[in-house]
Symmetry: C2
């Protein structure tokens, strides 16, 4: 079989795993998924690279050391010589960067090998109890870590519905969408230092608040703390300074996707953001999901992006379908509540600008990108009122509070609330899911 057909076989909807939990149609981590992350566990405190399947994590460092998992000889990544790539211990690391830097052939080779090793009919690992004991870790006993060293974090603003809603509230409902919005994927540089992994508590920020009845701002805890439901993509192959990435080539530079919550302090934002954009309103925390779902795993869920009118300038054009059908939802669980309430349901396919267009635009000036760079989609809002990706929109700047199943109403986030993003592609009898992207809000520092 060719590599292409091997890769195609990893997507076969009928493939099942001998790890039975992976075959549950509602499990995020089917054998078709195989997302990458970094974990440690109670047995070994050292962080290493793993792949989620069912209720387990496959320890790739163990598989490589045992000889069951091999890297292709020809290292495609910068700085990796062909002779060392195959034996480089890229999985016994505390981030995925070194593995990702090996290049797409390596990502695909590992995906194919894992898909084969974990398939129901494959005895090699299934029937080797001693190795299985070392190579499989239950997710329940593992701690998941930030999977990347993130050299740069950029956030886009690519949902037409979100930009229109925000423009209506903060500027002018008649001219909600600014003229530049339809011409380019508007983006800004975010703060990479404060990107944290799901499960990390987030402290409510302090900052300057401009109250309507006072001439000067006051200093205090944010009163309009919000989420932004986003996805992010991870740059898998960078570009050199001065050498833009063409839109048609851009997807080959993407390793995979995560869920991303761009926590936002709306009151701080509104006072600070003119003219240089959001700063303290966003830089206190950005949460990502621990598992990176590869673009290869998302391939069956590729769909057409919305029609773009006017037609973009030439450097932003690409043929074919470049959106993905990823169901998304947000739940809110108040402190000590038993039940969470789903407050929004939407889909990544609504995004106006594609990831490829975002990356082409980001680099068209000559700006370089690096392996591990994180690029947020921008808040993903759909057309319906319950499909908005922020409380700002869902409650229309607090005017229409949400009724929770348990815990009262919410205009914005209260201390102790746990917000969770979820996302998955629905295949026939299986899911390719992202797992949870959660954070609980701690009271502001006094």
């Amino acid at each position: 079989m060719s590599a292409a057909s091997d890769l195609q076989a990893t997507l076969d909807a009928s493939r099942k795993s001998w790890i039975e939990a992976a075959n549950d149609p509602a499990c995020d981590f089917s054998i078709q998924n195989l997302p990458f992350g970094v974990f440690s566990d109670t047995r070994h405190a050292a962080r290493r690279v793993g792949v989620a399947i069912g209720d387990s994590i496959v320890d790739l460092a163990v598989l490589q050391a045992s000889g069951l998992l091999r890297l292709p000889d020809a290292g495609a990544g910068a700085g990796v010589s062909a002779s060392t790539a195959a034996s480089a211990p890229v999985f016994a690391r505390d981030t995925l960067n070194d593995f990702i830097a090996l290049g797409r052939d390596a990502w695909r080779s590992v995906r194919i090998q894992l898909s084969q090793l974990l398939a129901r009919e494959s005895a090699t690992l299934r029937d080797d109890a001693a190795l299985r004991e070392r190579a499989l870790v239950s997710q329940a006993s593992a701690t998941l870590h930030l999977p990347l060293q993130i050299p740069g974090y950029t956030d886009f603003y690519s949902s037409k519905e979100h930009a229109t809603n925000v423009g209506s509230m903060f500027r002018d409902p008649k001219n909600a969408l600014l003229p530049n919005w339809s011409e380019m994927p508007i983006g800004y540089n975010g703060r990479a230092s404060s990107v944290v992994v799901s499960g990390t508590p987030v402290r409510r920020p302090n900052g300057q608040l401009k109250l309507p009845d006072q001439e000067r701002p006051v200093f205090g805890a944010c009163r309009k703390l919000d989420i932004e439901l986003e996805t992010g993509f991870i740059v898998g192959r960078g570009n050199a300074l001065g050498e833009p990435i063409a839109c048609a080539d851009a997807e080959a530079h993407i390793f995979g996707m995560v869920l991303l919550n761009d926590w936002s302090a709306r009151d701080i934002q509104q006072w600070e953001y003119v003219p240089l954009g959001p700063f303290n309103a966003k830089s206190f925390a950005t949460t990502i999901s621990p598992w990176i779902v590869t673009l290869d795993a998302l391939e069956p869920f590729r769909v057409a992006q919305p029609v773009q009118e006017p037609q973009p300038l030439a450097y932003l054009r690409h043929d074919g379908a470049h959106a993905f059908d990823i169901a998304l939802e947000v739940t809110l669980r108040p402190l000590r509540a038993q039940q969470a309430t789903t407050i929004a349901r939407t889909n990544f396919r609504h995004m106006y600008w594609t990831m490829a267009q975002q990356l082409a635009h980001h680099t068209v000036s000559g700006c370089n990108t690096r392996v591990g760079d994180l690029m947020g989609s921008g808040t993903i809002s759909g057309p319906a009122a319950d499909s908005y990706g922020s409380l700002l929109e869902l409650t229309w700047n607090g005017k229409n509070p949400l009724e929770l199943k348990e815990g009262g109403t919410r205009a914005f986030i209260e201390d102790g609330d746990e917000l969770t993003l979820a996302g998955w592609c629905q295949g026939e009898g299986y899911r390719v899911g992202f797992g949870a992207c959660s954070g609980e809000i701690l009271p502001a520092q006094r």
Copy 2:
């Protein structure tokens, strides 16, 4: 002698070096300066840490290996155990980060030892011809490299004159300064990946340009390429997420300063920047000077910052003087011209918001910073028309082109132009200078 008096002695204006070039009153690299950088040379291609003095560079890796330079035993930096700090080979590295991470006691100890070793009356190195031959490299034979791995780059907007000039041109001359400007050091996240060292050619960016007579933007090379004359400071001690740096403590977190040219594509900027701030207009390149002048070396040049009215909110208050008297100038030399023209002269002391206030504001939300983070001052414009720090202001958006001594006139930068920032503190008979921060503009990619 105490460490404090040893440190004070490094600033003694009467101290001279046995490296005679350092005693020239116009030399940037006096024995009072001792700035840190990273270099390689024709004899050794490996990058290592050096200190500039006169026309030479002292190779700190050689001095440490020879036993002449010791690090204090108690490593103050995170992750450095007391027993290993003294022998850690932090100078045989391609960036300064590991040395900076050792903490301020280590920076000061090295400064004191070098000041003593290089003093005219000190025979240890002066009279050891063999060691001198290995430990001293002429600047003429050296290549200077980006001295840091920069985890994050933030740029502020802290010159009142600059913000007023830009507001007058782009918004409303009657309300040039926005209300938030006087309440906080406005800043935004820049792109760390494209920070380059002085001498790196800069390619004119392509991007979207909105021409006044056309409904839609066109794609093409920037027509309004500009400089921004700035300084930057380097974070020497970071802060943990959720733990702000108090304004009164902020200077202790700063390792030193560089010159910084925040290249700006004004036409791209004007079309893209609302509502999320500058992005492609800035991200193609930011040039910094190769030598980091420590805050300790700048101490004699500390002066009062401008009076701040209204009085800032409590978290932005600090007693005492927190500006520095640093003369700054910009020269422009057209391709093949013999002569450069000085196009602006100003001083860092004009800056309204101090570095301490910038760092306190940046972290007040809980945002973390890391060793090596670069924080740009924002364009430094003085009150006089020839003290503006950008061509945008100097030519008033191109309306009043500058007359060059050689090479015609300039509204904005032309291909082949070399722009150079210079900066120095003038002591009695000596300078503490930054060296050059230069870049030549290459034609846009077609």
